[in-house]
């Protein structure tokens, strides 16, 4: 339980860092140049780790189902939708909806056990928890001013 929470917190911190780094690349290039680079780097790092941990097992594909190969499409869909949403709504509003949707679908996937993951029984507490978190996201993102103190010093 605790290990799972810590790993999720770790992942979230890295996502935050990665978003900032990707934005820096995006400013100088474009969203597809950035996406290609980011996924390429991610592949190299994962492949390297797989070689280190699994050795030759890295090349064992006998358990592989064909749809695994196209799962990477989902990530490309994410980029297309994020870029469009940010363009149309602005980052703050877009991200608020993205995060709300992420949580809503998380609860849905847990309760339905879709795609063959272990089903986590739906409880009222979970639903209330999700609503409170979404409230927190909205207060964080939309509440009050996050004033810019000074112009960037880079």
């Amino acid at each position: 339980m605790l290990a799972g929470l810590i790993l999720a917190l770790f992942a979230g911190s890295l996502v935050s860092l990665q978003n900032i780094f990707n934005n820096r690349v995006n400013e100088r290039t474009g969203s597809w140049s950035t996406t290609t680079l980011v996924l390429g780097m991610g592949f190299i790092a994962s492949f390297g780790m797989s070689l280190a941990v699994e050795g030759k097992g890295t090349f064992a594909f006998h358990n592989m189902q064909p749809w695994y190969w196209i799962s990477g499409l989902i990530g490309v869909g994410v980029v297309i939708c994020l870029v469009q949403a940010t363009k149309l709504l602005g980052a703050t509003f877009a991200i608020s909806i993205v995060m709300t949707s992420q949580l809503g679908f998380a609860l849905l996937f847990d309760s339905m056990g879709w795609i063959g993951l272990e089903k986590v029984p739906f409880t009222l507490n979970q639903l209330i928890g999700v609503f409170v978190i979404v409230g927190g996201i909205l207060v964080f993102k939309l509440g009050g001013k996050q004033e810019q103190q000074e112009t960037a010093s880079h």
Binding site: S33, V79, L117, I133
Partner: protein, 141 residues
């Protein structure tokens, strides 16, 4: 309206990605699964890039190399997320992940780290994070 729909689908796809990676990791090593999904993503993005050709290649030279290799973080992100999903389920994983993500962004923004525009955080941001943590506690009550 169209923007809201795009944002909604983006969120759905981000969660779906974590779930799909967790499912694939049942059949092979998690690092291997991360490599496979990112390789196909890379190939598709590269094909799109060849058509749209956005941005100049010279642009990359003007970026701090640290930021260029940021994509490598995808490996530990997928590994941790998948392991967390297998341990505590999708809802708790995404909840904790979002809390850490917003909290670190908040720290970076308020300190102006990595050359981001410094923002002053006020009460709503603290209340927001507090509510998110309360939400996780409620889930586990």
């Amino acid at each position: 309206m169209k923007g809201i729909l795009f944002a909604f689908v983006a969120g759905a796809c981000i969660t779906l990605q974590g779930v799909a990676n967790a499912r694939i990791s049942q059949d092979m090593g998690t690092w291997q699964a991360a490599a496979v999904t990112q390789l196909t993503g890379f190939i598709i993005a590269l094909i799109i890039l060849l058509f749209v050709r956005d941005g100049s290649r010279q642009g990359f030279r003007k970026v701090n190399p640290l930021y260029l290799i940021g994509g490598a973080l995808g490996a530990p992100i997928i590994f941790s997320e998948v392991t967390a999903i297998q341990n505590i389920g999708v809802t708790l994983t995404i909840s904790a992940l979002l809390i850490a993500q917003l909290f670190l962004t908040f720290l970076i923004d308020s300190n102006g780290w990595f050359g981001v525009l410094k923002k002053r955080m006020s009460l709503p941001q603290f209340i927001g994070i507090g509510m998110m943590i309360a939400g996780v506690v409620i889930m586990k009550l």
